[in-house]
């Protein structure tokens, strides 16, 4: 895969297969499992339990709820084959340790390959992280209705 580093596109780490707009899970642990299932199915995570354990271990080190109903659990793990993200949206309020002490409805799970240093993929995750500092982006995240809308939101906001 050859990609121009100066002109890369966030759309390259976000695919419909790694999005769920109607998470069934009612709690944090189940959400992490449900999103990890997507990553396993898509071939990005090879050992589900190992990855979930690594994500939960990171959770213990500090809260990943950013406030405004968004959480970004993440695992840097040997169980990850391809560095990517899975996105879940829930109609249910999921209890999560958050900066504003409120539950979350949007969960973005970062899966990072243990040996991935200085690669394009981490730069793309970095771009996603920067989007999360954008208040309008966060607001819009809560109103998307389709996967296409969600992907467009990421791509268009990152071009601003």
């Amino acid at each position: 895969m050859t990609i121009d580093l100066n002109n890369f596109d966030i759309g390259q780490v976000i695919t419909k297969d790694l999005i769920s707009l109607s998470l069934k899970s009612m709690n944090k642990k189940d959400v992490i499992n449900e999103l990890t299932d997507l990553l396993v199915k898509h071939g990005d995570v090879e050992n589900k339990q190992k990855f979930v354990d690594d994500v939960l271990a990171r959770e213990k080190e500090g809260m990943t709820g950013l406030g405004e109903g968004v959480a970004i659990p993440h695992g840097k793990s040997i169980a990850v084959k391809n560095t990517t993200i899975a996105i879940g949206i829930s109609k249910n309020d999921i209890q999560w340790e958050s900066l504003d002490d409120k539950p979350v409805n949007v969960i973005i799970l970062f899966a990072v390959k243990d040996t991935d240093a200085n690669t394009l993929h981490i730069k793309l995750l970095q771009k996603v992280a920067i989007l999360l500092a954008n208040e309008d982006f966060i607001k819009n995240l809560h109103t998307v209705q389709t996967k296409d809308e969600l992907i467009d939101l990421f791509i268009n906001t990152s071009k601003e």
Binding site: R58, E61, G62, M63, T64, L66, G67, I72, H74, K76, L99, D100, F110, V112, D116, A117, N118, T119, I122, K123, L125, Q126, V128, A129, I130, L132, A133, N134
Partner: protein, 104 residues
Amino acid sequence: MKIVGIAACTSGIAHTYIAREKVMKAATELGYEIHMETQGTIGTENELTSDQIKEADFVLLVVDIKIGGRDRFKGKRVVEVSTNTAIKAPKKLLEAVVTKIQNA
């Protein structure tokens, strides 16, 4: 007001960059000049220059871990907070620090 800073979080994947972005935005809105280095999983980016450090009124460390190159700030006023503090209320944080410095 001129500020230099460093952002660094535990795994160096997300919080580092969210914190940098939020602090930079808040500083710009408040009319301050700011330079923020990140020390993440892919190493150091936007490394501070010695001139930037020399001119800064204070150093803002937005860090959850031990960072590299702290000796660069010898003799400077250094304020250290967690990435969570900076992500939650970046403007409030900057205003509080600046007020404290101006009243010192």
